[in-house]
């Protein structure tokens, strides 16, 4: 086994491990975004302010 092929095997193994880590990594920022979207809907935070706005304009 040459030095090069050993190096390649090492790098390959560590990259493979990296891929597996990425796959199980929890996307915290995306989860916060998703949670905020659902909270807006359930608590009607956006629809409420949207519904109030036209009322104020009407005479």
């Amino acid at each position: 086994m040459t030095l090069n092929s050993r190096l390649l095997a090492c790098v390959g193994a560590s990259l493979l491990a990296g891929c597996i880590t990425i796959n199980i990594y929890f996307p915290a920022a995306a989860a916060e975004k998703a949670a905020d979207k659902i909270i807006d809907e359930v608590w009607q935070l956006q629809s409420k302010s949207a519904a109030e706005a036209p009322k104020e304009k009407s005479p």
């Binding site: 090069n4 390649l8 790098v11 390959g12 990259l15 990296g18 891929c19 990425i22 796959n23 199980i24 990594y25 929890f26 996307p27 915290a28 920022a29 995306a30 989860a31 916060e32 975004k33 998703a34 949670a35 905020d36 979207k37 659902i38 909270i39 809907e41 359930v42 608590w43 009607q44 935070l45």
Partner: protein, 136 residues
Amino acid sequence: MMRLLVFLFGCVWALAAAAQGNLDISSLAIDQFKTSMTKRHPQLLPWYQAGAIGLAKDGTIALRDPDAVPLSQRQSVTSLVAGENADRAGLYREIARANGNPAWEPDIRATFAQRWAERAPAGWWVQNATGTWQKK
């Protein structure tokens, strides 16, 4: 040799970028839980404001002060809380499942717990990480 290494690193970067996208929250089950919670919310609202119900640190809601609810209504509020918590548990589970990672459920629950507490209006009660109830 070097080119191959560069190519392999490129592959990993691409995968890492893909993993940073959005969480999928559009399954039928997720919609059903969301609709049910949205419909229930107006009934829960006065009890949040009265401090009878608070947002717990585990992403559920809790009847933290039963004395703030008249005895005649206590049973209906208790069942509202139970219904809400069943929907929330289902919601967290289904979001994890819709994204191909059922094992993410505790992380999703923790994220929601933190966001519910953060977004709660002034006057509502939230439970901090050590379990103490605080009025916002």
